[in-house]
Symmetry: C2
Subunit: 336 residues, 2 copies
């Protein structure tokens, strides 16, 4: 699509004030999110521009709290869950590269303190909420006065799905068309669904052997079936959006589950095969299908990993708590 590579700095610079000012201390929060229509495949690796639009549900108060303050130690300090991280670690480098876009040549050393309250049993990625919270904090700290769509676009440069974590509730990330990606931003759907439940089932906490970024790249390069993915995702997004509007839970569940399985299908047909599922993942899936054939409206979604996220309404909560005693339940909109 876009042939020329535009750097992050080139895009960001156009939106920054000539002279930067800095506050003393700011804090920001951004929620974690679970995609019901997945982001899978980049059309631009530098700017994290996707090959399809996606849609997620934010996890309420579960996410990342980020605090930016001045460092008087003479250098930057990066903290994750109160533990200081080596500056040359992969985690610190990603954060410092991102911060460099906004402080530019300012010598001011900073303390970046990130705390995730995502359930430990969740198997959830924290890069989405982490980069969204960091972007919101940077905007405040340097008084950038960026609007929400711009915050979403810039958070995306840190981690694709961070574009969605700038918002709460149901969030759609439009893929956009521009080569600078400034139309590839998320927005919040005007919808509230009390009783909407997400059940986190962790089958493994072992670090996945292939990260999402590499997985996407391998899939696009080697899976012939991937050619059909963008159209599939586009159809799923429309169905899910309509299901949210009409509060039609079975339509939502069906489209979300089909979307997740189709994404995993594109990975499996890659070479070498990319199968994030473990035997235990498949056992949970078969159990879900059995429960559904018994009349219980429960569906699932999965990201690039072995863990499952169940989707159901609060009316099914009791029976599912019995069936899955280790499941952690999140209600993004509270109970009805």
């Amino acid at each position: 699509m876009n042939l020329k590579v535009i750097s992050k700095a080139t895009v960001v610079n156009q939106y920054l004030p000539k002279k930067l000012t800095a506050k003393t201390t700011v804090t920001a929060f951004a929620p974690s999110n679970i995609a019901l229509c997945k982001y899978w495949g980049k059309r631009d690796v530098e700017l994290n521009l996707p090959l399809n639009s996606s849609l997620s549900i934010s996890l309420g108060h579960l996410g990342s709290h980020t605090r930016i303050s001045h460092s008087d130690s003479g250098g930057d300090v990066i903290l994750l869950n109160t533990k200081e991280q080596a500056l040359d670690s992969s985690f610190s480098r990603k954060i410092l590269d991102f911060i460099a876009l906004f402080r530019r040549t300012q010598p001011l050393p900073l303390i970046i303190d990130t705390r995730n309250n995502i359930p430990t049993a969740a198997g959830l990625a924290s890069s989405a909420s982490g980069f969204a919270a960091l972007m919101i904090a940077l905007n405040d700290f340097f008084d950038l006065q960026l609007d929400k769509p711009t915050l979403s676009a810039f958070a995306r440069m840190g981690s694709g799905s961070a574009s969605r974590s700038v918002f709460s509730g149901f969030v759609r990330w439009d893929m956009g068309e521009q080569s600078d990606g400034m139309d590839s931003v998320a927005s919040q759907l005007d919808s509230h669904w009390p009783g909407f439940c997400i059940g986190l089932i962790k089958v493994s906490s072992v670090q996945k052997p292939v990260d999402s970024r590499s997985g996407m790249a391998r899939t696009i390069k080697t899976s012939n079936l991937y050619a059909s993915w963008p159209a599939q995702a586009s159809a799923d997004l429309l169905s899910i959006e309509a299901a949210i509007k009409n509060k039609n839970f079975s339509d939502l569940g069906q489209s979300a589950e089909k979307n997740a399985l189709s994404m995993h299908a594109t990975m499996m047909s890659a070479w070498p095969p990319l199968v994030y599922w473990l035997p235990e993942s498949l056992a949970v899936m078969h159990k879900i299908w059995q429960l559904r054939s018994d009349g219980i409206a429960v569906y699932f979604t999965m990201d690039a990993g072995p863990n499952l996220k169940l989707l159901f309404e609060s009316s099914a909560k009791k029976i599912l708590e019995i069936e899955f005693p280790d499941m952690e339940i999140i209600q993004p909109f509270g109970n009805e």
Copy 2:
């Protein structure tokens, strides 16, 4: 592709002699076959015409022995592995419908005695070898004098993959283009590969919940990813054929495994999801990938069921017998 539906009888009648004669007793054998490039999707349900060409390896002396003789009991008798089958059973009806194409209005009652020597642990379908052996026997019994391609085309009408079981060794089934399907026939590749091994791993003998015919139909109807399958299969077939010609085992294994996983990928993205894998299937897959990363050239293929067929050369036999003690090994061309 073909818009008008042509009946089996219309096609077959053009190849039959005006007057039928019948021998007293004939016997025939056809081998079972395992597809390395799968047959998945029909362009014509009546004639079993496929949407892609496929390629298989025949299992030597393992398959179906069929005996046709006159019945003096006044009616047809159908035997399967020496047990008489009810004439209104699904098994008998398929056989009698097929036989009707060739005996037409002849009143002659027959005994059809089919014996499969496919390993019980195999989890292999017997319809391919069964219909191929039946077709070969019918050709002899009624002295039809049909050539091999015609036998292949007619066996296909009984069961798609039976078109390949008319031959031994590596067999390619060309999808063909004609609406009467008479160019949708198999042929044997001129290739001999001593030491080529197939390892049968049975993880379940429970009847699969959705048969292949229904599975294909559901996938074509509901999986968007299926649109990419025929091109994928076509590319895989070329690679596999080249790998056989060059005796390049890793190329063969890679293309066969990718082909099987891609077929399963199209099923998983159907709705309701069609996942034939059991947790145990996935455990074996992960073990195979681990062995491969340890340097052992072992690949697998899977049909519409939970069992696996391992592909390796006899040099890896010893180590794999230790890793998979319950595996049944078949060497279609004998040992080197």
